[in-house]
Every structure is written in C-alpha cells, then in structure tokens.
C-alpha cells in the first residue's frame, strides 16, 4: 500500500526533519508510528497524503508515485485516504454533521444518502446527539471523534490517524481503538501515530519508532509489546 525509498524531508533553512526513510506497509496492515515529540511522525503522514512534498526519495501510495503527482490529481488521491489530523481541522462554522458530510460532498454523494452514512458514523464514535452542534461547542475529545468520523465516513482504503486518542479518556480510547481495529479487519490499511505506550502494549501491532527523523526500530507487535513492558 505504501512504499518509501530513501525519503528525505527538510523545510527550507532548517535541518532535515526526516532522513533516509525506508518503509513498506502492506495492504491491510495495522501500523503504529511512535517516537518523541518532534521526531517527524506528522511530517511522515503529511508526505503520504501530499500535504508536503518530499525533498528527496520516492513514495508510492497504492502503486502511485506521489513524489511526482500532478497538482490536479491530488484531490483524487486524498479521497481514498482518511486522515485524523492532530490539530483536528474542523470547519468552525459548519455543524458536526456538515463537517463529517464534507468528505462525502467532495465525492458528489447525494445529500440524503450522505446523511444516513454520516449519522451511522457519528453513532459509531458516540456523537449522534451532537450532530447539529458547531465544533466550537464541543469538548476536546468530542472534536477528536468528529475528525475520526470524517476520516472514516467514505470508507477509505488507507487511514492515517495522528494521535487519535490524545484527548480521550481511557474508556473512549478503547472504544476508538476497537473501531480502528474493526476498520482494519474490513480491509483498510491503518497507520496510527501515537505516544501512548499503553496502546502499543495492549494492541501488539507492528510498531515503527522514529527519533529525530530516523527510523530507529521497526518491530512486529509481540516484540514491540515485550519491549514496552520491559521498559
């Protein structure tokens, strides 16, 4: 699903944020991306859905070379990728329902049909009663779940979730992680960037660890979990 070959990313004037990243994620895989604050997790996800351009290297997403993608093709790439943004990126003046529906609007899904799917999705993240509320009026955790609903509502083949449980209590966190596992089981490739070590040890999935722009470890679930417990 995703292949990265010798990818570098540097913002002009700064030292590189990502250095020689080589990564292969299979279709249907579930992968944790972890590492300290500022390691480059968000940047790596941004490269995948073309919010930033790699300085060097090749990135294939679904067989397509996104390092050399045309500007006009980007929207179509993004429609197959659901993204949970670390800073939410909700439209402040649209209701929760409209925010989630946006991902279907851009596909041209008729409103009635979209409405049904949106309501169903909101129910799965426990927010059906907040459908008509503006995001500004939601708690931090509620907003986070709206973003997740938006990312999942058009059943993407790839889900990039950046710290999707940072604002959630332990119970909600389990619910949301179960939801992600569900989605994964149904075939969606899932990448979760997180700091939460309890998640890593609980779910025992392949874990890629970034530090200062380098991949310092890439272990399967059991090994990673064992190391977490040991730490």
């Amino acid at each position: 699903m995703i292949e990265m070959f010798h990818v570098y990313k540097a913002y002009p004037g700064d030292p590189p944020v990502l250095t020689d990243i080589n990564l292969r994620v299979e279709k249907g895989e579930f992968l944790f991306l972890t590492g300290p604050s500022g390691a480059g997790k968000t940047t790596l996800l941004k490269l995948i859905f073309c919010a930033e351009e790699a300085t060097r290297g090749q990135i294939l997403v679904g067989g397509r070379n996104v390092a050399r993608i045309r500007e006009s093709a980007i929207p179509f790439l993004r429609r197959n990728i659901g993204v949970v943004f670390q800073d939410f990126k909700l439209l402040p003046h649209r209701t929760v329902e409209d925010n989630v529906a946006l991902a279907l609007d851009v596909l041209g899904v008729p409103r009635l049909q979209a409405r049904e799917r949106v309501r169903g999705m909101l129910k799965r993240v426990g927010l059906e009663h907040k459908a008509d509320v503006l995001p500004l009026k939601l708690s931090g955790g509620e907003q986070q779940r709206v973003v997740l609903a938006r990312a999942l509502v058009n059943e993407p083949t790839l889900l990039l979730a950046d710290e999707p449980t940072g604002n959630l209590d332990p119970v909600r966190t389990l619910e949301i992680m179960d939801l992600l596992r569900d989605v994964n089981v149904r075939g969606t490739t899932v990448l979760v960037a997180t700091h939460d070590s309890t998640l890593l040890s609980r779910y025992q999935k392949r874990t890629v660890r970034l530090e200062a722009g380098h991949i310092v470890s890439d272990e399967d679930g059991v090994k990673a979990a064992r190391r977490m417990v040991g730490a």
Partner: protein, 300 residues
C-alpha cells in the same frame, strides 16, 4: 445524479456561508451597492450633460447674407439648396423681417429705424445646424462652402460663440469621462479588494476542504455563486437607491432644468435599461471579483 448532488452541495455551502458569516457578506454587498450606485449616478450625470449640450447646441445659428435686391425666387432656391446641404431647417429672412427683428431686439433705436426711407438690411437665410455638425471645424467648412455660392455675400456663424460652446462641451465631456473612469476603477478595485478580504477571512476553510479531497472546482463554485449573488443584490440595492434619489431630488432638478433649457430636459435617472445594466454589472463584478480572489488562495 452526482452533478446534481454537487450543485446542491455548492448551493448549501453558499447558503451556510452567508448564514454563518453574514457580516462579511453584508460588507461585500454594501461595497458593491455603493460602487454601483455611484456608477449609476455617473451614468445619469453623463446623460444629463449630453442632453444639456444638445439643447444648448440648438442655439447655434448660421446666417447666410444674400445680395441686396436678390429676387425672392432666387433666394428661395438658395434657401432650399442650403437646407439640403446642411440637413437642418433653413429660414429665409427678408429685409423687412430683418428690420423688424432689429427693432424688436434694440428698442432704443426703434424710433430711429422706422424713420428710414430705404431698408439698408440685406435678405438672409438662417440655418439651424443639426447636432453632428456643430463643431467649429464643420461650421467653418460649411461657411466656406456657402460663401462660394452665387448670390451669397457673406456668412456669419458666431465663430466665437460656437468655439466657446464646443469648449464647454469638451470640458464637460472630458470631466465626465475622467469621473466615470475614476469611479469605474475605484469600483473594480474596491470590490475586488473586499471580496479578496472576505475570502482571506475564510482561507482556513479552503485549506480544510482541500485536505479532505476537494477539487479546486469544488472549492471555487460556492465562492463564485456567492459573488454572483452579492453582485445581483448590490445591483438591486443600487437601483433602489437611485430610484429613491431620483424620486426625492428629481422634481427639483427637473424644475431647474426646465427653466434652464427651453425644451425641458427630462433627467431620466433610472431607466429600465440602467437597472439591467446595474444588475448585469453587479453580477459581472461579483463573479469576476470572487473568481480572481479565490484563485489567489487556491494557488497559494
């Protein structure tokens, strides 16, 4: 189905935009209204100036003096010839008519004139020159031509008065053109600036839409629709404002003008045509303005 859904979505997006940020839209509409209102006024003023000039120009007269004692028949032939050449009314003034008129115009010498045995005044033909030929150059050419006709002794056409009138006309036209150009330029610039600013206030929205996979077109359409609506609304409001203005100031102005020029110039400030133009102009301004504005942000 999908196209319909997209149209519906664009429409909804526009409506939501207006509903949730009425302030920004109100400002855009107000700006458009003021701009169009001013443009409409300028148009009206221009029309007024044109008709004023036309009516003032009616006073341009060319007098063709004929040989003393020219038979009436020959004079009439000459008159007809001149009428055809000029394309306006030509009136024969016999020496008797001329003397009478002089007496009327200068009462203080009237007594003196009636005591004359011999009428010293020559017959003449007076020409009313049609509008297109009232420039000093055309009149000069006409005079030269007429002077060469047999039976004609002299041609008088108030060279200075005509030159002066045409200078006034030029000043007014130039002023009108400058004013209109300034208004137009200001209109376009300010409307574009306002729309840019209103989109600038929503650049986050554009960014987010693009992040979830919206094409440029999807992002653009609601803004363009919005600009169009704002333009139409601005045109309608400007028309209403001009109507109110011409209702309140019109009669006063008409009275002044009726007194000023014989014919009575009707200051038709708000014609259906102008309303159409304002609506169209507004729509165009709104459309172009928002297209340009949104493009700026899509590129960035």
């Amino acid at each position: 189905m999908s196209a319909l859904a997209k149209a519906a979505s664009a429409w909804r997006s526009t409506a939501e935009g207006v509903r949730h940020a009425p302030f920004v839209h109100a400002i855009a509409v107000v700006t458009l209204t003021i701009a169009l209102f001013t443009a409409g006024l300028a148009r009206g003023a221009d029309a007024l100036i044109q008709s004023l000039l036309a009516s003032l120009g009616g006073e341009v007269r060319v007098t063709v003096y004929l040989e003393e004692g020219l038979p009436e028949e020959d004079a009439e032939t000459l008159r007809r010839g001149l009428e055809q050449r000029v394309g306006g009314a030509a009136t024969l003034v016999t020496p008797t008519d001329a003397l009478e008129r002089l007496g009327r115009e200068l009462p203080e010498v009237r007594g003196l004139l009636v005591s004359l045995e011999d009428n010293p005044l020559p017959p003449s033909v007076e020409l009313a020159v049609p509008e297109g030929r009232r420039t000093p150059e055309a009149l000069r050419a006409l005079a030269m031509e007429a002077r060469r006709l047999p039976g004609v002794t002299d041609v008088e056409w108030g060279e200075e008065a005509v030159a002066r009138l045409s200078a006034i006309a030029r000043v007014l036209r130039l002023g009108g053109a400058v004013a209109f150009a300034v208004v137009l330029l200001a209109t376009v610039t300010i409307v574009a600036a306002t729309l840019q600013l209103s989109i600038y206030a929503r650049r986050e929205e554009i960014e987010i839409q693009k992040l979830v996979g919206a094409t440029d077109r999807f992002v653009r359409v609601p803004f363009v629709l919005e600009g169009l609506l704002q333009g139409l609304l601005g045109g309608a409001l400007a028309s209403a404002g001009l109507l109110a203005f011409s209702r309140s100031a019109g009669p006063h102005l008409a009275q002044l003008l009726a007194f000023l020029v014989e014919g009575g110039v009707a200051p038709a400030l708000l014609t259906p045509r102008l309303v159409m133009e304002l609506l169209l102009g507004g729509a165009l301004l709104g459309l172009m303005g928002s297209l340009l504005a949104v493009r700026r942000f899509l590129r960035a």
